[in-house]
């Protein structure tokens, strides 16, 4: 008797649940960001759910960008994947070749979305577009790299503007050291700002075949050109004590070492602008500037970093309609403007950026300087070297390069040898990827 009653109660519970699910069409969305930025992701879902009554986004943090990608792949293989997923820039190739995604342009057309594809900054759009310029995912949280510099420390060496060139920066670092600053500049082994952005700004290729956009047979070439010279300089500065390595392992990351005033200059994502602002030690006067270029080189646009939203195959029409509503919502001007107010990310459309400039957002204390990332990202129209990097298994290539930079900076081998080794190993990774993806073409 009790069992039957319980079963009936459960049945009623289920039908009530189904009824509410029918009233509000749900869809699953997985995001990678964690910490304060993860809370912003959850907030964005909440804002969407509160903005209307038809759909409901069920949002789940996956504990990191790489976890979000791993979990999505595992879930897809078990047919348990979400409708929408946030995937970082480096995961783009895997998703493009997966056959598991619903490409963005097609999706927007099928579900009558209001997206204006031409309003995205080209530097943002092209990173997530095919070689023919068709976008396969929806740009979302986006950033670029900037130089953080300590105004107070600079004033003590009689300068009141950031270095525009590496030559000037070297002089500044030398003066900072002479003035008693123990750590003029903090660096780490992250390839994103120290190599990838550096190459883009100097209009240097990271790989052949238009940085991989034109085919899986691309080969790495960053051991030639300007990079060996630059990293050799970096190693010399390290030996002279002009730069210092700051990682979580040494006790302080770049951002922490800059924010507490111990290092006077560093380079990092604009997304950390808010973090520096809220954690800076009292009285720290600081600013951001574009990354420096070497004399004799013309500055080009920097690369976008961050993540985009991918729609996955194999979901119901209802779920797709709900996801389309969510994507329209986060791409609306008001929401594109909301993101930069709660994070350091940039507005990703012209319309939102213009409106924010008009309303004086970038003059407000705490936000001033953030437009630097957009100036840097839109400095020139993107070309083959500066629109992005499309290399298979790029996270492994990054980690090979990181290991080789560690070997070079700690004096185990010369910079040129380290870069040659990174290229050789990176090319092996690319060939394996090409073989694994045999018969598939990059769109």
């Amino acid at each position: 008797m009790i069992g039957a009653a319980a079963a009936a109660a459960i049945a009623i519970g289920f039908s009530a649940f189904e009824a509410s699910a029918q009233q509000r069409q749900r869809f699953d969305y997985w995001y990678g960001l964690t910490g304060q930025l993860g809370e912003v992701m959850a907030d964005h879902c909440k804002r969407f759910n509160e903005s209307q009554t038809q759909y409901e986004a069920v949002c789940t943090g996956q504990g990191g960008y790489d976890r979000a990608e791993q979990n999505t792949i595992a879930a897809y293989r078990a047919r348990q994947h979400p409708t929408l997923v946030q995937i970082y820039d480096a995961g783009t190739v895997n998703f493009m070749l997966s056959g598991a995604t619903y490409n963005a342009v097609q999706f927007a057309r099928d579900f009558n979305m209001k997206i204006d594809w031409n309003d995205y900054f080209p530097g943002v759009a092209l990173y997530y577009a095919t070689s023919r310029g068709e976008m396969w995912s929806f740009p979302y949280n986006s950033s670029s790299a900037v130089m953080y510099w300590n105004r107070g420390a600079y004033q003590r060496i009689g300068r009141n503007e950031a270095a525009g060139t590496w030559e000037q920066l070297e002089n500044d670092l030398r003066s900072l050291k002479a003035s008693g600053h123990a750590c003029p500049m903090a660096i780490d082994f992250d390839t994103w700002q120290w190599v990838e952005q550096f190459l883009a700004i100097h209009n240097q290729s990271i790989a052949t075949r238009a940085n991989g956009y034109q085919g899986l047979d691309a080969e790495l070439v960053f051991n030639r050109g300007l990079l060996p010279r630059h990293l050799t300089n970096m190693k010399r500065w390290l030996d002279e004590g002009l730069v210092r390595i700051q990682t979580a392992q040494t006790g302080k990351t770049l951002v922490q070492a800059f924010a507490d005033g111990s290092c006077a200059v560093t380079m990092s994502s604009i997304a950390n602008h808010g973090v520096v602002g809220s954690t800076a030690s009292g009285g720290l006067q600081w600013s951001v500037a574009m990354l420096p270029v070497y004399e004799g080189f013309q500055r080009h646009n920097s690369l976008v970093g961050g993540a985009s939203l991918w729609v996955m195959q194999g979901k119901s029409r209802g779920e797709y309609q709900a996801a389309a509503a969510f994507l329209d919502y986060v791409a609306s001007r008001a929401e594109v403007e909301w993101m930069p107010t709660v994070t350091g990310y940039i507005p990703i459309t012209n319309a939102a950026f213009r409106h924010m400039q008009e309303t004086g957002f970038y003059n407000r204390p705490g936000f001033a300087g953030r437009e630097t990332a957009i100036t840097s990202l839109t400095f020139t129209p993107p070309n083959e070297n500066t629109r992005g990097i499309r290399l298979g298994n790029f996270t492994s290539i990054r980690s090979e390069l990181t290991s080789e930079m560690q070997a070079a900076y700690t004096g185990q081998k010369s910079v040129q040898q380290a870069l040659d080794d990174a290229v050789a190993r990176g090319n092996q990774i690319l060939r394996r990827f090409e073989q694994t993806m045999r018969g598939r073409q990059l769109p």
Binding site: S403, A407, T410, R432, F433, R438
Partner: protein, 295 residues
């Protein structure tokens, strides 16, 4: 060997009772291991789809890679040093408690705790304590500038993960050694003492030979554990660096497979690791166990 076989009256009940365990072993060991075996001979695209049979290519790639051998070398170094350290300290602590030094009841109770701490938590704690700029140990660099820096010095990084792993294994060894020592009849140890043997002598000639089975068991467990459970510590403290100085085999499998999405290469490496751990255990049983007397 008496040659007597243990038989159960309720054969089917016995089967029924071990069935859940067999099911778990099948689901979480044989099935994935079988899958890995298949992947190791194919090229598996991340999202699935058409695999290609490539024969031994994945193994050839693994064995031809000097950095793979680097990782094997690092793993062996790590396993043997942390086993030696963890067993040495475990035995020392156990003998202190066994001799009932002051406060031994408290120690007996708290020494086991570290084993209950998950590896990533151990890693995080050690990273904070041993951070060269900001940790407790950074005072070393105040006295001797540049002496300690696991972020840049491969040797220091290896020391760091060995310490962290040994710290968590000491507790386990301590309990087993203590149990072993306490099972030795008091009269034997006391007789030794009356004949004038000191504590060290008694340990070497009397207690150690008597707890040889425990000792042997712990060697096998410690080495196996150092090979397969070191991932959490490496991931949090060093990330395999600097310059691959702590790129242990399990960590390399994780970076190639899950970070790099090269499932086939990772599968081939896990098979090699599995065979290696089996071989090491076999060698220990074949050659070390000969010196062990169980009764």
């Amino acid at each position: 060997m008496s040659g007597k076989r243990v038989t159960f009256k309720n054969f089917w009940l016995a089967i029924l009772l071990i069935l859940p365990q067999l099911f778990l072993v099948f689901t979480f060991f044989y099935w994935p291991a079988g899958e890995a075996l298949y992947w190791a001979f194919t090229l598996e695209p991340p999202f699935g789809g058409e695999q290609q049979w490539v024969g031994w290519q994945n193994f050839e790639t693994v064995f031809a890679d000097p950095l793979y051998w680097n990782s094997v070398k690092r793993s062996l170094l790590f396993a043997f040093s942390s086993t030696a350290l963890a067993m040495g300290i475990g035995l020392l602590l156990a003998s202190f408690v066994d001799r009932q030094l002051a406060g031994y009841k408290v120690y007996r109770f708290i020494y086991f705790w570290p084993y209950a701490v998950a590896a990533p938590a151990v890693g995080l704690a050690f990273r904070f304590i041993f951070a060269p700029d900001a940790g407790f140990v950074s005072v070393i660099n105040v006295w001797f500038p540049g002496l300690w820096n696991p972020a840049l010095d491969g040797f220091d990084a290896m020391v760091l993960i060995v310490l962290a792993n040994a710290w968590s294994m000491v507790a386990y060894n301590f309990i087993f050694f203590l149990a072993g020592l306490q099972s030795i009849p008091r009269s034997l140890v006391e007789a030794g003492a009356m004949d004038g043997a000191g504590a060290v002598r008694r340990m070497r000639d009397l207690q150690l030979p008597l707890i040889a089975p425990t000792f042997f068991f712990l060697i096998v467990i410690n080495i196996t554990d150092s090979f397969v459970n070191s991932f959490g510590i490496v991931d949090i403290t060093t990330g395999g660096g600097p310059a691959r100085a702590t790129d242990l085999m399990v960590f390399k499998i994780y970076s190639d497979g899950f970070k790099g999405k090269d499932y086939s290469l990772a599968a081939a490496q896990s098979l090699v690791l599995m065979l290696m751990v089996c071989a090491l255990t076999f060698i220990q049983f074949r050659f070390v166990e000969r010196r062990v007397h169980y009764s």
